[in-house]
């Protein structure tokens, strides 16, 4: 899913992110699609969709390469190693469904359990995974931390400081292909999907264009996060 640009610069620039302010809170959009809240030492990722290949196959579809759980967890654990967060917050649709959560390959399930046990971990429940799993951590519909409220699906009537996922936003400039993107305005932030097997919804789509304020920014993920006026 990541662009295959030179990996050397990749590692160097992953350190840097794009800083912005939401409801008076300083946040950093990382090129990997995760959100870093330095003051709280909180790392937030959205829409992991773990177990997607299992669910696909179970429901009579083709057998997709069963490596997406491994890949998503590898990328997440690399971020955790790099930032040492006190809290990890998953913004919902962490599992493709609750049965998929039970069916993760054993070694991947162990890794996830260890990751969760090592720090404070918050699962927001999404439309794909409405319930608790056996991986530990705390589960809830939404949670407010300081001035920010984290929920899976953005609410039209949200007060400033809403952080959500669900839409898998992506955007493109006139050159280059579309990339997963953060969307941010004065009221809300929508995170791109972090999971390896996740598609995207263009920011031009009415569902997103209608939700975001006219001055909204899109921050394209990639070797270096790139901010631009949200394409409409």
């Amino acid at each position: 899913m990541r662009l295959a640009a030179g990996s050397k610069t990749d590692d160097q620039t992953r350190m840097s992110g794009y800083d912005f302010t939401l409801a008076g809170t300083r946040l950093t959009a990382l090129g990997s699609g995760a959100l870093w809240w330095a003051d709280e030492r909180l790392l937030c990722v959205s829409d992991l969709h773990l177990g997607k290949s299992e669910r696909h196959l179970r429901r009579g579809g083709a057998a997709l390469p069963p490596y997406e759980v491994r890949d998503t967890l590898n990328r997440l654990s690399a971020l955790i190693k790099q930032y040492s967060p006190d809290t990890v917050l998953c913004l919902g649709d962490s599992f493709d469904d609750l049965a998929a959560a039970k069916a993760l390959p054993a070694s991947e399930a162990d890794d996830l359990r260890q990751m969760v046990a090592a720090r404070k971990w918050i699962w927001i429940e999404g439309n794909h995974d409405p319930g608790t799993t056996s991986f530990g951590g705390q589960s809830c519909d939404e949670i407010t931390i300081g001035p920010l409220t984290f929920r899976h699906i953005a609410r039209v009537d949200a007060t400033p400081g809403e952080v959500s996922g669900h839409y898998h936003p992506k955007a493109r400039l006139s050159r280059g292909r579309s990339r997963p993107a953060f969307l941010v305005d004065h009221i809300r932030l929508i995170l791109p999907a972090f999971g390896t097997y996740t598609g995207g919804l263009r920011s031009r789509d009415p569902a997103l264009a209608g939700l975001m304020q006219p001055q909204a920014l899109a921050i394209l993920t990639g070797p270096t996060p790139i901010p631009c006026p949200m394409p409409r």
Binding site: M1, L3, A4, A5, G6, T9, D19, F20, T21, S53, E54, L57, R58, G60, G61, A62, A63, L64, P65, P66, Y67, E68, R70, D71, A103, P105, Y167, H168, R172, L173, S174, R175, G176, S178, T196, Y197, T198, G199, G200, L201, R202, R204, D205, A207, Q215, L217, L220, G222, P223, T224, I226, P227, C228, P229
Partner: protein, 759 residues
């Protein structure tokens, strides 16, 4: 008609129950047309013979009836036949089948549709052991090869040669104005083409791409002051619109039809007495096929005119003319049967009921193209269909195919049969979106555009479709909504069409022509142009590679004349730019045509020899196969055919929401975690023979043997100029490109004033 005489004789002689003859053609329209032509005489003779056709357009109710109570003669396409074979009651449907007639077999043999058809035939042959096979074609370069392709391996096949008739009357169109230096529109020829339309009953005007057909039709219409009835016909147009054109053709109401490959085959239009080919024909066989569309009357020569779109194409047209006159058709040896099609066939076989692997293997290897398939390769395909064939056996409880205690294989979940049937077929259309006029309740359908093209549109952009200029309004429920636009010039050129590579034989013919001391056989304007090229630079020769470098519009350019065909030149571009990137030469992109690759970037190329070393290219190929777009495209095609990616799923496309993730992600994941997977192996095979066409790079390396002629020029050369106007420029996604994206974003932030707000 001749192909049906034995059928009619047998059916007239005895009281045959059920299906007797299957007729398969590559085109739906052809099936409908044959039905018309056959039903008339049969009714006149009072024969009690039922004839019906079945294609993707046949309504559900009629399809059902055809399965339970089949007609005597069924006219169909490879995809519809594969679907019929996938039903549990296939044995009953095809009971008593005696003959199968495959029309235009050379066209099917060139694509995976033919491989799918032959696999379906192997199944039919098991169901109906005394089935006889007949193949028909008017343009076969190597009859023995097609015979082996058609017959059950290793049975012999009888070849019947018909009288070829008189030689065609074929020439280049004489125009007052010379063709332009560059471009593909051939707009200069409009007045001369109009004169020809006036002088003939009905003219077919062939184009190589839909985009070119659209632009040409638009220009022709603007110049058509006396309002001659002229229509356009191509595969992206709405079906209703195509059918209207076809009906008008049959009724002799049209003086000309601008068309693409959609009219290459089949249907005998009444009064076509002239064929015009716009743009170089790329392939002599296809040219001969198109010429044959004029005057199907026996003993009358077909009349055809070639219209080169630019001066280089004058040379190519002349080489093609000489090849036609000498009867030199181009053909390449057929590769072995593709394994992605085999995977689909295994799934289709599973849909029709439990099967035994040994029996299926025997059936498959009775197909000529698969006769040398190893058991191990077959088993790998079966394993892929059953489990996905991954090194990590993660979800084996959900296998797609299960082996039962009695050894037979069957679908685990009967629901998957419906999903598999929805995805039968090997035609790889890019994802297409319907285009409609914007009205309150669904306006008039105009045709389809590629999703990738639609994604680049912003409201207000204008483009051509069905010969009219429309304005992009919005994308709603996966439909592109447009309004009419009064402008005379579309802002965006249109969507891309299929691109054919100039054949090896034709490329050699062009090099032979360029090697002449003078060109009395070419029009003066082109001969002068080549003379100029010889003066300011030199002409490419077969025994060496000419490379020109020059600055142009602030960028350094290098033009490599390899004459290896579009696909191989594209691969050469990818390999060479990758090497240049490693050397820090900052390539930004390239474009390939059939004869050259033009690369631009920030630094001058001064030492090209190392870039063209055979071993370096071969080494580079393996490393490069990793992450490039061509491989991803090949992977997408093979993964779709093999059943890993579903084009159609129950309930899909209703909302564009969270559309399925791209096949690129699957490709990258497999490369990373399962590099020996079957599909990557298939992709490599496919890309090397098709899109990558490395064989022709090898041929080129062999031809030039390291001999490079490097010319440093002050400006662009006469021969290089056409490349700048080529569509399909490939950006190099390197450090340079990333910098440019950042520059653009920064510019937008500054311009919009958001920069200050954001921090």
């Amino acid at each position: 008609m001749a192909g049906f005489l034995p059928t009619l004789a047998e059916l007239a002689a005895d009281d045959h129950k059920g299906l007797h003859t299957l007729y398969v053609s590559p085109l739906k329209a052809l099936a409908a047309d044959i039905k018309r032509n056959l039903t008339g005489p049969v009714a006149e003779m009072g024969l009690p013979i039922r004839i019906d056709d079945r294609t993707g357009d046949t309504p559900q109710s009629r399809r059902k009836r055809q399965r339970t109570d089949p007609p005597h003669i069924l006219l169909t396409t490879p995809e519809s036949l594969a679907l019929m074979v996938s039903y549990e009651d296939a044995a009953r449907t095809f009971q008593g089948l005696k003959r199968i007639v495959i029309d235009e077999i050379h066209a099917l043999a060139e694509s995976k549709r033919g491989d799918q058809l032959m696999l379906a035939l192997s199944r039919l042959q098991s169901l109906c052991p005394d089935l006889r096979r007949v193949g028909l074609s008017a343009t076969v370069d190597d009859p023995e090869q097609i015979a082996r392709y058609l017959a059950r391996y290793p049975d012999p096949c009888h070849i019947v040669q018909a009288d070829p008739g008189p030689a065609p009357d074929i020439a280049m169109l004489q125009t007052e104005e010379a063709p332009p230096w560059a471009g593909g529109g051939a707009a200069y020829s409009i007045p001369a083409v109009l004169d020809q339309i006036r002088a003939h009953q009905t003219t077919l005007i062939f184009h190589n791409t839909r985009a070119q057909a659209e632009i040409f039709f638009h220009n022709l219409w603007l110049a058509n002051e006396e309002g001659l009835p002229i229509a356009i016909h191509h595969g992206s147009l709405d079906r209703e619109q195509r059918e209207r054109v076809e009906a008008a053709m049959v009724a002799n109401e049209l003086r000309a039809v601008v068309c693409t490959g959609s009219l290459d085959l089949g249907i005998d239009w009444g009064n076509v007495d002239l064929v015009i080919q716009i743009g170089a024909p790329k392939n002599v066989k296809r040219l001969v096929q198109r010429i044959g569309r004029a005057n199907h009357r026996y003993n009358a020569p077909s009349k055809a005119l070639l219209v080169p779109a630019n001066r280089f194409e004058v040379v190519e047209c002349q080489a093609a003319l000489e090849a036609v006159k000498q009867g030199r058709l181009d053909g390449d040896p057929r590769p072995p049967g593709p394994r992605d099609v085999l995977c689909q066939h295994i799934l289709i076989r599973a849909c029709s009921g439990p099967f035994d692997a040994d029996t299926l293997f025997a059936e498959v290897t009775s197909v000529g193209a698969y006769s040398h398939l190893s058991r191990a390769a077959f088993d790998a395909c079966l394993d892929f269909c059953a489990t996905g064939g991954y090194a990590l056996r993660a979800y084996d409880q959900w296998q797609r195919l299960l082996q039962r205690p009695d050894g037979l294989w069957q679908l685990r979940d009967p629901r998957s049969a419906a999903r598999i049937r929805m995805n039968i077929g090997t035609i790889q259309d890019a994802d297409l979106l319907k285009v409609r006029m914007k009205r309150s309740r669904g306006g008039k359908p105009l045709g389809e555009v590629e999703e990738a093209f639609a994604a680049t549109l912003t409201p207000g952009d204008t483009f051509l479709i069905g010969g009219q200029i429309v304005r992009y309004e919005s994308l709603r429920e996966m439909t592109v909504e447009v309004s009419r636009d009064r402008g005379r010039k579309p802002k965006i050129a249109v969507f891309s069409g299929t691109k054919f590579a100039t054949s090896t034989q034709l490329s050699q013919g062009i090099l032979d022509l360029l090697a002449q001391d003078a060109w009395p056989n070419l029009p003066a304007h082109t001969a002068d142009w080549l003379t100029l090229q010889r003066k300011v630079s030199e002409l490419p020769r077969a025994g060496q590679m000419l490379i020109e470098t020059f600055p142009h519009q602030g960028r350094e350019h290098a033009c490599l004349y390899g004459f290896a065909g579009r696909n191989a030149q594209q691969t050469l571009g990818l390999l060479v730019t990758k090497r240049m990137e490693e050397l820090g030469l900052d390539p930004l992109g390239f474009v390939a045509t059939d004869y050259a690759t033009l690369i631009w970037g920030l630094s001058e190329l001064t030492d090209p020899a190392p870039l063209l070393d055979g071993n370096a290219l071969r080494d580079g190929l393996e490393r490069w196969l990793a992450g490039n777009a061509v491989m991803k495209r090949a992977f997408r095609a093979s993964a779709t055919i093999a059943g890993l990616i579903e084009r159609n799923t129950p309930g899909s496309r209703k909302s564009g929401r969270q559309a399925t993730f791209s096949s690129d992600i699957l490709y990258d994941t497999l490369r990373k975690y399962d590099p020996d997977h079957l599909l990557l192996d298939i992709t490599r095979d496919e890309a090397l023979s098709g899109l990558v066409d490395f064989a022709r790079i090898e041929e080129m390396i062999e031809r030039i043997r390291g001999r490079v002629s490097l010319r440093r020029l002050g400006r662009i050369s006469p021969l290089a100029a056409p490349l700048l106007l080529e569509m399909g420029k490939v950006p190099v996604q390197g450090a340079g490109a990333e910098k440019l994206v950042q520059q653009e974003a920064a510019e937008l932030m500054r311009a919009s004033g958001l920069e200050t707000l954001a921090q």
